[in-house]
């Protein structure tokens, strides 16, 4: 049972909560329905003509990837929220989005690895080398390199000029996680490209290539999105990480440790939540005076300003990458020469 309560003067009760949930649900349903992959749109994006059998195979492959993405993202988000509730930490936008992207990454990857059909005695394969660079978007390596460079560069700057307490451990962990995600994303892309190709004729190979390219593209965007979430996290933390000076009767009398949030003052009292989530209160002796204000002090203004700027850009970028990962199936695969026809050795001499 949800009890009505007052938040900042507004009555929020069961009806308001249910209406909000319904609206968010409808919006999500509309977004998911509007982005449902269909063989016709996939074929149009890649300039393919599909016969009935191939259309059925494409539909099945697109549905598998779609379900993997949606279920992976949703499950990961629920786990992240449950973990936050269990550990008593506040919900964070970057952590939530990073969880969705990580779930998307894993869900798409798992959807690609289906058991190969039972092999016959005679097995055929194309000798065309499939390379990951032929399937992922152009400049993918540059984008990934720049994002990772920014994450590592800012993390090092923050550690050198402002990180204290828990951040001395958390920031390197986030930076190392960024490297791990890049390695994992690359490995998944390679595995998708090297997956067994069931047929070798040219039309089938083009369809197969387009499906691989959409999966590789989705994994690439999810990888970049997770990196951007990491940048947003260290950026916003770097921008806000500093001791809080508390003024009593116009003079700074004491400090709150970095990481304090939800600071509320009233007369001689000040309440705040520390980095571990515990709520504290402190009372100033009446003889000293009233609390007149507080402000956050930055150990390094440059780190704070750059951090705020990066957090803003990376936050927006992560949302856009998530959107691109969801729409990867609509994008055409990068241009690549068509596979060669099988040839007999020339009868008139080697060419």
């Amino acid at each position: 049972l949800i009890w009505a309560r007052t938040v900042d003067g507004m009555n929020i009760g069961p009806v308001e909560i249910l209406v909000t949930i319904a609206m968010v649900g409808l919006l999500l349903a509309a977004l998911l329905w509007g982005n449902r992959p269909t063989p016709a749109r996939f074929a149009a994006a890649n300039g393919l003509t599909l016969d009935d059998e191939t259309r059925a195979e494409v539909r099945a492959a697109l549905r598998r990837t779609y379900r993997g993405r949606v279920l992976g993202g949703s499950a990961s988000f629920v786990i992240a929220v449950a973990f936050g509730v269990a550990t008593g930490t506040d919900f964070s936008f970057t952590r939530g989005l990073a969880a969705v992207l990580a779930g998307t990454l894993v869900g798409i990857a798992l959807a690609q690895f289906t058991p190969a059909p039972a092999p016959g005695a005679v097995r055929v394969a194309s000798l065309d080398a499939r390379d990951v660079d032929d399937y992922r978007p152009r400049r993918a390596k540059v984008v990934l390199g720049v994002a990772l460079g920014i994450l590592l560069g800012y993390s090092v700057s923050f550690l050198a000029f402002g990180a204290t307490g828990a951040m001395v451990v958390i920031v390197p962990v986030v930076a190392l996680a960024g490297i791990a995600v890049v390695v994992l994303g690359g490995w998944i892309q390679r595995r998708i490209v090297e997956q067994a190709r069931a047929r070798v004729d040219e039309d089938q190979a083009r369809v197969d290539d387009a499906l691989r390219a959409s999966a590789v593209r989705a994994v690439h965007h999810a990888t970049v999105g997770i990196l951007l979430c990491g940048i947003a996290f260290v950026g916003i933390t770097g921008a806000r990480w500093g001791p809080i000076d508390v003024e009593v009767a116009g003079e700074t009398r004491f400090q709150l440790a970095p990481g304090a949030s939800d600071v509320v003052t009233g007369g001689e009292r000040i309440w705040w939540t520390d980095f571990s989530g515990d709520r504290h209160a402190r009372v100033v002796p009446r003889a000293v005076g009233h609390i007149t204000g507080w402000h956050q002090r930055s150990e390094s203004p440059a780190v704070s300003i750059v951090g705020a700027f990066l957090a803003l850009l990376a936050g927006v970028g992560a949302v856009l990458e998530w959107r691109e990962a969801a729409r990867a199936w609509r994008r055409p695969r990068p241009t690549r020469p068509a596979p060669d026809h099988p040839q007999l050795a020339p009868t008139g001499g080697a060419t």
Binding site: A125, A129, R130, A196, L344, T347, A350
Partner: protein
């Protein structure tokens, strides 16, 4: 360019890979510098163990037909030994003779068999 491996034949799969690739290099179907699939890719496509494909590649490398580099994969050597045109013609003639013999032994209509052979050659498939 298609490669086929028959695991029911008495010839080990790695030898079939070596023979077919070396034939394609010798005839010029695979040109110098052409990249070959990674061991994992070809093993997945042929549903063979990676070690089998690796052995085939290793023998090709030993014969000086392909070059393997750690980060760039395996590619056809820049100056592989090419078979003389006469040898290539002899191999094609032998393959055609085998085809004609089997068509006759099976009692198939020659024109129909030729039409089907044309379709397969043009379509890029090796089986209908």
């Amino acid at each position: 360019v298609i490669i086929a491996v028959d695991i029911s034949s008495g010839v080990p799969p790695y030898e079939q890979i070596r023979d077919q690739v070396s034939r394609m290099i010798a005839s010029g179907v695979l040109s110098p510098g052409a990249r070959l699939p990674t061991i994992q890719q070809l093993a997945n496509d042929l549903q063979l163990a990676p070690g089998t494909v690796a052995r085939g590649y290793k023998e090709l490398e030993r014969d000086g037909l392909v070059v393997s580099r750690r980060r760039r994969g395996t590619s056809v050597a820049e100056h592989p030994e090419r078979a003389p045109a006469r040898e290539i013609r002899a191999e094609v003639d032998a393959a055609i003779e085998r085809f004609v013999l089997q068509v006759r032994q099976l009692g198939a209509e020659p024109s129909e068999a030729l039409d089907r052979a044309h379709v397969l050659l043009d379509s890029g498939r090796i089986a209908s």
